[in-house]
Amino acid sequence: MPTVTLNKTVFEELVGKKLPLDELKDRISMLGTDLERIEGDEIEVEIFPNRPDMLSEQGFARAFSSFIGVKKGLREYVVKESDYNVIIENSVSNVRPYTACAIIKGIQFDDEKIKEIIQIQEKMHVTFGRNRKKAAIGLYPLNKITFPVTYKAEDPTKFKFIPLESNNEMTGLQILSQHKTGQEFGHLLEGKEKYPYFIDANKQILSMPPIINSDTVGKITRDTKDVFIECSGFQYDVLHKCLSIIVTALADMGGEIYSVTLSYGKETKTSPDLTPQKMTFDLKYINKRLGLDLQEKDAIELLSKMGFGYDNGNVLIPMYRNDILHQVDLAEDIAIAYGYENFKEEIPNVATIGEELPIKKFARKVREILTGLKMVEVKNYHLMTVDDLNTKMNLENPLIPLQNALGEHNHLRNAILPSLIKNIRENQHNEFPQNIFEIGRVFTKDPNTETTISEKDHLAMVLCHEKTDFTESKQVLDALLTSLGMKYSIQETQHTSYIPGRVGNIIVNEKSIGIIGELSPDVITRWGIQVPIVVFELDLEKLI
């Protein structure tokens, strides 16, 4: 999860109030952000992905200030009209079709502010922008650009410029193969015949989104006062949201916002548009969901603590908010403003009947019977290696691999037995007899299921000591099935894991429900064990 690092002094100035440390910590948590650490003058806060507007110092301070009641209500942001124009050519439609742009004037850039802006840009790239795939942001010193700017796409061998952190002119293609940033984000342009770029009226290339800016005209310095901002991507609404979050943070930094006219062929748009969105307010719904009995004026007050405006039954939602999809989102904000700590627990008088799953109840019974026979239950993972499932068992069964397992356990087990034998191997230093069992799930391919995989709950047991033999395993099976009131028979079979003539299918109601036998010395020694082992494994569900 992304974090934002705040300078305590700057933060307190932006908030407009100093809080004692304990209260500050508590309020940060109760706003719905996780406090990571406070050290000296640095505060690090984790921001949940639904609130990208809090990823900047300014955005976080804005929300916090309202929440503690200092600067409440809807913040007004003025967008001044201008005649800056960006022309979007049709050539970008198959590459990266949209952009939303703005101008910010009058910021006194110093090293601290440049650092802040880069932080906002980077955090937005990683989270909201999904690593620049969904939205990429570019900032440029206004005085180096001549309008109108054009956004177009072209064969990447046909255009070139000097990218940031380089001394040489490179073509679009060269940037992808030779430049560090190009290599990192090149996959976003993979397979495209044309690459997009911004170019000004003097034919200077500004940048090649979503990769890199030009070193000549795409670099903010301490001399910069006014900036041109563009966001590029695939959906205009998303880009406009991204732009709104950035321009409001820059406005809080002291900048003035100017609009840009976007010409999409015949259609024109003006960005940014910071007019608040409206949502009808359903107080009854919210009160019901929260278990509260708020009056309209209480609710309006709580909304104002979360930075919302209110106008005649409608909530005014600031453009920088990205998380208000439905009435329930207002309910949550009201709950936060009300204080989660202020909700009293309540158990409603609703009668329902508890009920355990039949298989779980049955498994509990089986456990009782087997522990009554002095057996020990083990619990293993459902993921294992092919070596354990097949090779060591002298089997060649089809298995289900995982596509991307990080650890060595990369196949779903199709039987419990290998897990139990593995346990025996790892317990060689402990006392014998080692009589163990497990109830758990196994997986096999089955195209007739929703997921193409069939799951069954199995029971397996292993007896391991010097004098164990087939008779003993059958005694356990007999005790178990007799206790469960079942008739069964054993039918001799062939199986490569067992000694011939000492292995059989367990038959209940004329169907095989499992296997019982004495493991072959070959299998036992493959596992590195030197004590005889007898086993059975059966499908638990077939016993119910």
């Binding site: 949940f48 992905p49 999904r130 969904k134 959906q235 609404d237 969901r289 278990g291 999809l325 439905h326 989102d329 949550e332 709950a335 936060i336 989660y340 700590e341 909700f343 009293k344 627990e345 309540e346 158990i347 409603p348 609703v350 009668a351 329902t352 508890g354 009920e355 355990e356 799953l357 298989i359 779980k360 509990r364 456990r367 522990t371 009554g372 026979l373 002095k374 020990v376 239950e377 083990v378 619990k379 993972y381 459902h382 993921l383 691999p401 596509q403 397992a405 990080l406 356990h409 779903l412 346990n423 317990n427 402990n430 006392e431 163990i436 997986f443 929703e450 997921t451 995989i453 799951e455």
Partner: protein, 506 residues
């Protein structure tokens, strides 16, 4: 203790050994006289000591024993005696002497060196070695030497008791091959205590019953006889019980809490489609948590239930829920991906999809395994238990959510529960659940909770209804209960650990 009672407690072995102790005090002598095996005597003496009838004293000392040559020459006489006898005042050739003395070549060589040192012979070397006896030699021939006197003693001899001339002889003989050996000996001696003395005056040969046999019961021969009283305070060998895995105990306990609170148990598959695990829960398809590294994927394509189209609409534009949706194009390929469930919340989604209005209000829970693609280490498992719950009730609200969780955690041993704002794509409000740790005196985060969004509920249930939901991790509570610091120890399946683990007693 009452002598009568004490006498009754005696084991047959004790009964046999005790009378011997009247005369004998040393272990070997006791064993010999009792006619029992060493181990039997040892056990009997130990029990007698436990009953304070005797005291056992163990002493370690070094003793000298005759080795094989020592024994041989004790019988035959030392070779130097035979050598001296074969000599005269004239020089004689060595082969003549050897023949006459009947000694071996090796013995002769040893004798020459030895006797030269004792000035008992003169040696002259010509073509061959010539030897004659001296006056000192003649003396030695008639008198027994120190060595002979020492060899004649009764062995074993306490090493520390060897003194003066014996010491000289001992040092001399020790140089010779296989004459003497020194061993460490443990001497066990026994003394009777006052109780022991008194006990010996009673009749120890009484006929007591040891093991009760079916034959005695049949014939009634046990009547009019006394039973030997056992020493029931003594330690016994460990026996092993059958045992459930300790994690099962915790799972069963948690299950019981929810059953007591009127919740029904949910079931479901471990392998799920991305549709059920994520999309039905309104997790946007480009959500960072959906990326490959967090989730185990299995090859193939899942088939989708008919409701998938409603879910698609909700993602794209909110469908009929009154929501704006996530405003993107929903991918059918993505939703068909097959994965190992990342949370048991998938079971809640499937359960809701199977309910009708008549089933409400309803409460469900599950305690089940979930999977995260991680390599195993002391802090991370790739599969672990999650405790899931939902309440589908038209009148449910946030206060009830806090109420249910508070009750649950009370039964788990935590009296105070706190809610903090959080974010999950499928709940609104979303909250983090903390409990106050009574020992550490701090808030501990245990899991997420919230009220399902209408975007989740309406497509699955058919109408909007508050659904309280929670998914809590139990690993922390379980590990802490059994003082487990390396989380892998939960599933190490070490039989000694499982056998000796204390039971879940909450």
């Amino acid at each position: 203790m009452d002598l009568q009672k004490l006498s009754l407690k005696l084991h047959p072995l004790e009964r046999k050994v005790l009378p011997v102790l009247k005369k004998e005090t040393e272990f070997n002598a006791i064993t010999k006289k009792s006619g029992l095996q060493e181990i039997e005597v040892m056990r009997a003496l130990q029990w007698l000591e436990n009953k304070e009838i005797i005291g056992i004293h163990t002493e370690k000392k070094k003793i000298v024993l005759l080795d094989k040559n020592g024994m041989k020459y004790r019988k035959e006489g030392l070779p130097e005696k035979a050598f001296l006898t074969a000599l005269s005042d004239e020089f004689k050739g060595l082969n003549v002497i050897t023949k006459k003395s009947k000694l071996s070549r090796e013995e002769v060589n040893a004798c020459i060196g030895l006797l030269k040192r004792k000035v008992a012979i003169d040696v002259k070397k010509e073509d061959i070695l010539n030897v004659k006896i001296t006056e000192q030699g003649k003396k030695l021939r008639t008198e027994p030497s120190f060595e002979e006197q020492f060899l004649a003693k009764e062995f074993p001899i306490d090493l520390l008791s060897i003194q003066d001339l014996d010491k000289l002889a001992f040092d001399e003989l020790k140089k010779r091959k296989d004459f003497l050996k020194i061993e460490e000996q443990k001497t066990v001696t026994v003394t009777l205590t006052e109780i022991g003395q008194k006990l010996l005056t009673t009749n120890l040969t009484r006929d007591v019953i040891n093991r009760l046999t079916p034959a005695m019961l049949k014939t009634g021969s046990w009547r009019n006889k006394e039973f030997r009283a056992y020493d029931i305070e003594i330690n016994v060998p460990t026996t092993h019980q059958g045992k459930k895995h300790f994690v099962t105990e915790a799972v069963e306990y948690i299950t019981q809490i929810w059953l007591d609170m009127g919740f029904k148990e949910m079931s479901g598959q471990y392998v799920q489609s991305a549709f059920w695990d994520l999309d039905a829960l309104f997790v946007p398809q480009d959500h960072p948590a959906r990326e490959m590294q967090d989730t185990f994927y299995v090859e193939g394509e899942a088939s989708l239930p008919p409701v998938w189209k409603k879910v698609k609409a909700v993602h794209e534009n909110g469908g009929d829920t009154g929501s704006t949706g996530w405003k993107y194009t929903f991918s059918e390929d993505e939703t068909k991906k097959i994965l190992l469930r990342t949370h048991t919340t998938v079971l809640s989604a499937q359960t809701i999809a199977n309910l009708t209005k008549d089933d409400l209000p309803a409460k469900f829970f599950s305690v089940g395994k979930v999977f995260r693609n991680e390599a195993l280490d002391w802090k991370h498992l790739f599969e672990f238990y999650q405790v899931e719950g939902i309440v589908i009730d038209p009148n449910a609200n946030l206060k009830h959510l806090k109420g249910y969780l508070t009750q649950f955690y009370k039964k788990m041993g935590f009296d105070k529960v706190r809610m903090r704002p959080a974010h999950f794509p499928y709940t609104e409000p979303s909250l983090e659940v903390d409990v106050f740790h009574p020992v550490k005196k701090e808030w501990v985060e245990l899991g997420g909770a919230g009220i399902f969004r209408p975007e989740v509920v309406k497509p699955l249930l058919g109408f909007d209804c508050p659904v309280l939901a929670w998914g809590q991790g139990m690993g922390r509570i379980i590990s802490e209960y059994w003082n487990i610091t390396d989380i892998r120890d939960l599933y190490r399946n070490d039989l000694k650990q499982i056998r000796e683990m204390k039971s879940w007693l909450k």
